[in-house]
Symmetry: C2
Subunit: 394 residues, 2 copies
């Protein structure tokens, strides 16, 4: 038996998806009991040299009006027209899978309610963690767990930069240039280095864990531009790695999500997630601590995740989540988030007498964000200028 799908967007991930389906066609047919055939590929461009040239179409209506196409794999990126195309596919009773974190984090509620109305599936394994099957794991293998917390290294570009700063003594600017030269970072690196990409991903993970989508503007988000090599070095000497962490947790039905650089202790498995790899640590009441590790980006890993959703849906195991919108009262104010603090000042201060001196900087006890901001103000006023404040994970 053959089942037909269409691909929207023949870029890196879209062509990777076609490649995975082609390379492993026989294996997939054996394991699933049906063949998957890409019937159309929608793109603005033509690809005369591609083996898939004859599948390229420019008119989306060709796909929408073909009843043989059961599923549309959207790998266009960006919110528009990905949103409109996905809604139109579901209104035409076709399931949709996507690798597009922006459209899921921004328009997830609308997309999922459209899926429900049309009794089709909307799935997005590839939107978080590239090839790492984190979404399916939370949704199936950990479904019997009350999830307490998820903390993850969700962005490979910034993790590469921080790894270079840690192991090669690079500063931020030179590590960014190297990441750009290697193709790990875009010419405009803002979505990565300012934490926007990680923010979208933690929003998606929070929704899966707690059933409520937090608007990205309610997620405190800091990037890695302010991380100084000096702090990476002091932290390393004290047994910590600095990582860009996306974290979400629930406290009595209220939820919180934020993204910022954090010190991660060497015995935490996240501390050893280096280079462009991603790691996502999930804490459930029964399972305890589980971490998933792998390539958070790249053509074939991301395509692998897209194809896993395609197979799930075509096998009859597709899902469509019922997320609520997180209202203001559901969201824990970032001012109330508590953590230990790494603080580096221009000079000694009695205000840090209770803190642990780690040689060049201090580690305080637990305090709320509001208290930490107050401490920074007092330190600055006392003449001990705060040169760095970084939160500590765990």
């Amino acid at each position: 038996m053959k089942k037909y799908i269409a691909i929207l967007g023949f870029g890196v991930v879209g062509s990777g998806c076609a490649d995975v389906l082609d390379t492993n066609k026989k294996l997939i047919a054996e394991r699933c009991g049906f063949e998957i055939e890409v019937k159309y590929i929608l793109d603005l461009r033509d690809f005369p040299q591609s083996p898939y040239a004859d599948k390229i179409v420019h008119d989306y209506n060709v796909i929408l009006s073909d009843p043989e196409v059961e599923l549309v794999a959207e790998m266009m990126g960006g919110s528009h027209p990905a949103l409109e195309f996905s809604l139109a596919a579901m209104d035409a009773k076709k399931s949709v899978v996507t690798s597009n974190k922006e459209v899921v984090a921004t328009h997830g509620l609308e997309l999922l309610s459209c899926a429900k109305e049309n009794a089709v599936s909307y799935m997005f394994e590839a939107s978080v963690g590239g090839g790492i099957p984190v979404i399916h794991t939370i949704d199936t293998s950990l479904v019997q767990n009350d999830i307490k917390e998820i903390s993850g290294i969700l962005n490979g570009t910034t993790n590469y930069i921080l790894t270079q700063m840690n192991t090669a003594g690079a500063d931020f600017e030179s590590a960014l240039k190297e990441a750009q030269a290697k193709g790990y970072a875009e010419a405009d690196p803002s979505a990565d280095v300012d934490g926007i990409d990680a923010c979208r991903k933690i929003a998606i993970l929070a929704s899966l864990a707690f059933g409520k989508l937090i608007p990205t503007e309610c997620i405190h988000t800091e990037g890695v531009r302010t991380v100084a090599r000096k702090d990476v070095e002091i932290a390393a000497a004290a047994g910590y790695a600095i990582k860009l962490i996306g974290r979400t947790f629930a406290d009595n039905k209220n939820i919180c999500a934020y993204v910022c650089p954090m010190l991660v202790k060497n015995n935490d498995p996240l501390s050893t997630v280096n280079d462009v790899f991603n790691g996502i640590k999930i804490n459930g009441d029964a399972v305890g601590e589980v971490m998933l590790y792998g390539r958070g980006a790249g053509k074939l890993p991301t395509a692998s995740a897209v194809v896993s959703d395609i197979i799930n849906i075509l096998s009859g195991s597709g899902v469509s989540y019922s997320w609520q919108k997180a209202e203001g009262s559901d969201i824990i104010d970032f001012d109330n988030v508590v953590s230990k603090q790494y603080i580096r000042t221009s000079s000694k201060s009695a205000l840090l007498d209770g803190a642990l001196d780690i040689g060049g900087a201090y580690i305080t006890g637990e305090m709320s964000e509001a208290e930490a901001e107050e401490l920074v103000k007092k330190l600055n006023a006392s003449g001990a200028d705060v040169l760095a404040r970084i939160r500590i994970l765990g």
Copy 2:
């Protein structure tokens, strides 16, 4: 709606399973759309103080003859009567889930063919990696991948012992005693320290990845009794951790599985899996390298995995694999397995001139097991006694 199950064996995992189903009853009902009720618990003992006392039965026929019981969760351990009880349940058209690696590795073919005949499911997520959802991941999220290799730290007891030898300067005997005192190792530690437990687990993983069950007697298995603290120290100084590794790979349809201590380079994420944690690294053609990390044993983590199988089956997503038996010609002879070798000798030898001197020991180039055995013989004959030979992963 309520769905009824029975638990066989009310030991650590069995009672953990009842606890997870009870503690998260509401959450499971909300997420799955039905309630799961434990109707019977089969055990030889009575548990008058237990909240589940009224569910205890001693006669298995009560369970077999009750048509309301859809599924039996076998957590008795050992091959018998777990095998007979599981077969009887499936013959009574009840699906079976288990945490019992021995029965799966030894009688998996018979159990799976019984499941197929009766059109029920036989699932065993908890048999490998405790709470880590490795089996479901291979079977669903990575199904579109041609798996090349799986390497894992599959036994928490030996990993605890090796971690103590590495970080606390303990030798094998004292680390084992400490593991026993902490309840991580049994009074008779053989199944763990001689690699038998890891052997069963790699047999199960190989079957999932390659569709063929390798008889455990065809899996080269070494434990950790011979690992000397001196080698742990030399390896650590050279940037390696010594870990008990279960490894399986395929080469042109032929497959291989073995268990032995190996040197794992510090930049391999497996090297940082410490204490009683497990880590399983899967290499697929599309996804690249993925690692799953978590608690490989323990009451609630293992129960979490059992319950995930229960939910899968009761939700209609149960599976039953079609494994073949690996015949002699399918199995790569261990003599032909190639790796670099860590070799420590009583004195210098010209036979190791091409090897890398890491201070106190040598690292050779790649060679087959047969070649390595030959080298050992020659070294011993030359008067440079081989005090340790340990394979290197990767």
